[in-house]
Symmetry: C2
Subunit: 140 residues, 2 copies
């Protein structure tokens, strides 16, 4: 009978970035004035930062400006599951050059919209775990 | 050319619960002492609360005890995407009767483990959105 430690593998940071680059949907958690929220978002991982796009004036933008955020992606099959968590600081891109650079990124979006702003997360930590899914053990 | 409002549909609470009951993996966002984190978790929606199981002594348990949390599920196909966010208060189940009741819930788990504690979210709000995925419009 296996214990939890036997089936959870910690990923190194380069493995996390491979996963981040191969997905385009994640969830951003942000907190402001004691209010916590979570938002699904399309993103683009350029190798060192996470670029996201959102509608101007949203609560998301207000919550993330210059604040610590946590961003997560996951993926699973019948056999295994992976999860990557990026923690870092979010900033709103507000210079013309930064916006033009972001416009060139291959950022997909679920929601067609003409007006948007960019939010970029600069990570302070990138961690990941792989779970090998097994049968439920009998509890003592 | 469509605007964002044309393709985002707000779900009513009963639609959100149908989605919550038909999934088993979500992400919990919690914040403590200015530190925000996000965790993927299996859960069971019993119709009015969200039941989750985690390993004793984890940061997740510490962060969620009697605190406001946000929990999210999402799902998407090529045509559309849905997301449900539950906000509420998390509590650790610490009475024998509550644990026995939770043991009877059909809660699946990725990670086989012999020792666990239950966390239950009592919602203060349940909101959901459906996005019809469309082509990217030309930006002005």
């Amino acid at each position: 009978m296996s214990d939890a430690e036997d089936v959870m593998i910690v990923l190194d940071e380069s493995e996390c970035w491979v996963l981040l680059r191969s997905h385009s949907l994640g969830r951003l958690a942000a907190s402001a004035a004691g209010v916590i929220d979570i938002f699904p978002l399309n993103y683009y991982a350029d190798g060192s930062t996470i670029l996201m796009r959102t509608t101007p004036g949203t609560k998301l933008v207000e919550m993330t400006i210059h604040s610590d955020v946590a961003f997560e992606i996951d993926d699973f099959t019948d056999e295994e599951a992976v999860s990557v968590v990026v923690k870092g600081t979010a900033e709103w891109l507000d210079t013309r050059s930064a916006i033009e650079e972001a416009d060139r990124a291959p950022l997909v979006s679920w929601l067609p919209t003409l007006k948007y702003v960019y939010v970029r997360i600069t990570p302070t930590s990138v961690t990941g775990r792989r779970f090998v899914r097994g049968p439920e053990p009998e509890r003592d």
